[in-house]
Amino acid sequence: MDASLRPMPDLTDTLDEVVGLPDELITSTHRVGHRLPNLMVRGLDEREVFAFAPPLVCDRVHWDTVDAFDAHDVLPALGPGAYSRQWSDGQHRVWVPEGQGHAAREVIRAWCLEHDVEPVNMRVESKVTFRDVELIPDGLLPELVAATVDWLYPRSYAIRRKIVADLELIEDEDVRSMMFLYVYDHVDRYDSGREGVNGTLNFCAFMMGKLRTWPQDAARTTYGRGVMSDRVALMRAVDAVAATELRSSTEADRAAALGTSVTDLRRREAAIATLSSLRNQHPLLVGAADSDDYDSVEVSSDVDVEADATGYDHSAAVTRAVMAAVNDPGSSGRRAQDPLALAAVYLSFWEGLTRPQVARELEVLPKTANAAVSRVLEQVKGADLL
């Protein structure tokens, strides 16, 4: 390890003290909480696993590239003490000793220029926690991450629902593997030494805190920061007005919360609504075909196109003929409409009743029902539909 990297204090003593703390605690939001358990892997406590990779304080350079790129290629140019680790989001991160972040960024930029790599949105974050998790031996880390996911997954129902609801193409069965990657990504920034009111955090508690913003972060990555930030701010404003003033928020309230004009608020709300309707298409409108494309109508091969076109047309023609027989606006008074004939025909042909059943249903004599049906049938036969 490079001498310029400053290891954080040994945690063993601090964590031992934690064990002695009571199980119940008061959270930062003044609620009663419970201390989360330390995980065990192959008989080792998580503290012992993380002891293989002690936390360091580093500067991090973080960027994206247009083409595929491995950040390990740039490490020799940065000298000893530089680390890189692949995250599942495909972006590139390099950790360098504290205070060297900005110099490292310039080195990386020059290296990219020299090697014809196009960097995007390169930025430096100072004094971040980093663990070189490659130092953890024997596949202990994947097992620890799996144990963490086993513990977190059943306790994060609302978060999982939000991920599925917010992100198109993500189904329930995808979330567990996504959660594994999310936890695996965040292992290197686990700061087990930070002291709070309730002592230090163990890994489950640390990840539970990170998971709270996971759906929001994932949606921002997918759909863009502006729209998602507006959505979060609007929801907060709506909740705040509902909670404090017991009424629904007005446009003026929401515009004030966003610090913008009502006109701009409407534009932003329209953008959010458009995004929402794109993601939540009505399945009926998509129809039986497997296409999500609104601009084309695809008919699957098992649909009988001729029957599809003519069957409905014939039913509609019969209906028009029946209506023409029972409704004659040219006549005056009660003779213009014949509801009894319509009811008798409907019961006979669409409900499938016999004539005596029709008469009983309509509480008329059978001959009256018979005459009503016959009146209509004569005209419908004249239309050459039967």
Binding site: L284, G287, Y312, S315, N327, L342, R360, E361
Partner: protein, 128 residues
């Protein structure tokens, strides 16, 4: 219809309803639903409701039940029944492009199945 089934209506003023199904393609289903709803809104004196929604091939099928009034009103061609027929005519004429057609009402269809297999309608609906 069996005597048992009629007895279920004892003491009620029975209404007579007909089902009218529209079959727009999925591309114009939303427009069809909105325009049918606007016509129904314009005739508040005629009871009508959505009773079925499904799809078949490229068509979205939705069925509206229009009430012709009580059995007595139907028999005597009372104004309420004649207004209902006028509404049916308007729906059929205005939305000819969506192939409006009479269909059996879904609740009645379940009732018929129940009477055929000799079980109570409520049991059938619970099982189904």
């Amino acid at each position: 219809m069996t005597q048992d089934h009629i007895d279920e209506y004892a003491g009620l003023r029975r209404q007579f309803e007909v089902g009218l199904r529209f079959a727009p393609t999925r591309m114009c289903a939303a427009a069809a639903a909105k325009s049918v709803a606007s016509v129904l809104d314009a005739h508040p004196q005629v009871p009508a409701r959505l009773v079925d929604l499904s799809h078949d091939g490229s068509r979205v099928l939705f069925t509206v039940s229009v009430c012709l009034g009580t059995i007595d009103a139907v028999k005597t061609a009372a104004p309420s029944s004649r207004r209902a027929i006028a509404l049916l005519q308007e729906l059929i004429d205005s939305f000819a492009a969506y192939d409006p057609a009479f269909v059996q009402l879904p609740v009645t269809r379940e009732g018929r199945r129940a009477s055929m297999v000799g079980v109570d309608l409520r049991d059938l609906l619970t099982v189904g």
